[in-house]
Amino acid sequence: MRECYGKTLVELGKENPDIVVLDADLSRSTMTQLFAGEFPNRFFDCGIAEQNMVGIAAGLAASGKIPFASTFAVFAPGRCFDQIRMSIAQPGLNVKLVTTHGGITVGEDGTSHHSIEDLSLICSFPGFTVIVPADAIETAQAIRVAATSYGPFYIRLCRPKVPLVYNQDYRFNLGKAITMRQGKDATIIAIGLMVKAALEAADNLKREGIDCRLLNISTLKPIDEAAIIRAAAETGAIVTAEEHLEHGGLGSIIAQVVARHYPVPIEFVAIKDTYAKSGKPAELLQRYGLTAKDIEQAVRSVTKRKGG
């Protein structure tokens, strides 16, 4: 995903001279270094100073540039929340924050580098568009849409290489959930690398006779309420799956929509109010309950609660 981000930025940079890129000393990881190599005078490494980076991005945007600013997800918005709030969100400036290393699959670096709150924080800003792509193909398209849509964007990528869940025919549709499997017994709503796990879970459950709908809701904000309400109405039970705390992310957002419009039982596959620690990405996903098996377990559990 990160490599794809870097390459897409270079393409965009060739197409539009107003694209500028900023980083906070992580360009070898976020892959903004690819843009830096091609367009050194349009690239600003701000060093380990995320607050300043956000402010400079805002000033560039106020002057008509299209800034893409990157760092690890744990540092933006975490480290520069007020700066994003007052310099970007409140004035609705055209800044694209693209963070990498979301979730706990950052792995061995441990808690300080894991990002399990970023979606909760960033979705709290009015006017922000928040996208969590599921694979490299979706990433490339989301980045392009961000570049050509006016307003603040947050796009969260992960550290590991993830298998593709889409092919070249896929068309990313901003603000719309994608139905990846039809079904009538329950709906799994997943984002990011949990989409792959959700696909696996849905296939396994089908063999058991549980027919799951699967939605990839890659645009977390503005959320596709219609698709969620339809899912609640037509399947009667929902499981959400995210590489994030239970608090404030995908699960919370879905729960609000459902509670308001069409209450049904929901289960949340997410990190339960704790910090993850160092470990291999696959080990951490297992330890903290973010695998296909966890999704299957949640579906069995939530379908039992149906039809009260």
């Binding site: 607050q51 400079i56 000033g59 106020a62 008509g64 007020d82 409140q90 004035p91």
Partner: protein, 294 residues
């Protein structure tokens, strides 16, 4: 009163020809008159609102007068003019001062100043770029304006424009770490189309800077961060004008003007009184102040 479709002000109660691009013709005497007028506006509008920040607005009056009425290339009839010089009020609580200057320039009617801080007003408690013509940045959360100004200056350079970015910082504001992140970056990126000014009135809410969080040696800090430093009496028009002109000639590094000022300048009971950082004058105090500023 709304702006016209072309964003030109609908009132003509401003001091001079609003179509001029560069207001460079004003004499020192004329600027002194304007400064007094701005001070009166600050007192009246915060008094009317019973809310606002008179102290730090009054200390920066001469600085803002020189900028808006002498130095900046700007067009009140076209606040979005792409070649304009940009002024960022990083110490966003001095909004009353900025609003007074913008109104006198003709960005919006002078009588709109009485709507400060009211519900649905275009004049928000701290600057809001989404509602007020002529305001470049939504400030108020201190420490953010220098970074913003650097972004503007860098864009100007990328666009090969001749315009300049100016940013007014508070001295207490320099407690914020982000200011020093910006200071490092401005020097690193050699942002020489940026002039910063510090309203060095030496006070913050909890008292004198030296007692709350000592900033000294202040000039030396900016020099150490790679800035060209000019010190002036922040209430002396000639010194300010000379400093701003000198800053324009400095190449390869940003310039900061450390303006020594008096918090609450012009109103006897507000001068050097941190109580009036964020406290508006009551009706009686307004009357006394306006007599002093007559």
């Amino acid at each position: 009163m709304p702006l016209g479709e072309d964003r030109s002000p609908l009132s003509t109660t401003s001091v001079y020809n609003v179509k001029a691009e560069v207001f460079s013709s004003l004499s020192i005497k004329k600027m002194e008159e304007i400064a007094k007028r701005l001070r009166r506006h600050i007192i009246t509008m915060t008094g009317k609102a019973s809310s606002g920040h008179p102290g730090g607005s009054l200390s920066a009056v001469e600085i803002v007068t020189v900028l808006y009425f002498r130095l900046l290339r700007h067009k009140p009839s076209d606040p979005q003019w792409s070649d304009r010089d940009r002024f960022i009020l990083s110490k966003g609580h001095a909004a009353p001062l900025l609003y007074a200057a913008l109104a006198e320039c003709g960005y919006f009617p002078v009588d709109e100043l009485s709507t400060l801080r009211q519900l649905d007003s275009r004049l928000q408690g701290h600057t809001d770029r989404t509602v007020t013509p002529g305001v470049e940045m939504s400030a108020g959360a201190l420490g953010q304006g220098l970074s913003f100004a650097i972004g503007i200056a860098l864009a100007g350079r990328l666009n090969s424009q001749n315009c300049r970015a100016y940013v007014l910082l508070g001295d207490g504001e320099c407690d914020e770490g982000q200011i020093w992140e910006g200071a490092m970056a401005a020097a690193h990126f050699k942002v020489d189309n940026l002039t910063a000014i510090v309203d060095n009135n030496r006070q913050q809410i909890d008292g004198w800077n030296r007692d709350v969080m000592n900033l000294d040696p202040f000039n030396e800090k900016w020099q150490a961060f790679g800035w060209h430093v000019i010190e002036v009496d922040g209430h002396d028009f000639t010194q300010l004008i000379d400093a701003f002109n000198q800053a324009k000639l400095v190449k390869g590094q940003p310039t900061i003007i450390i303006a020594h000022t008096i918090k609450g300048k012009g109103v006897s009971f507000m001068e050097n009184n941190p109580d009036f950082h964020g406290k508006a004058p009551n009706a009686e105090e307004v009357e006394i102040a306006l007599k002093e500023l007559a």
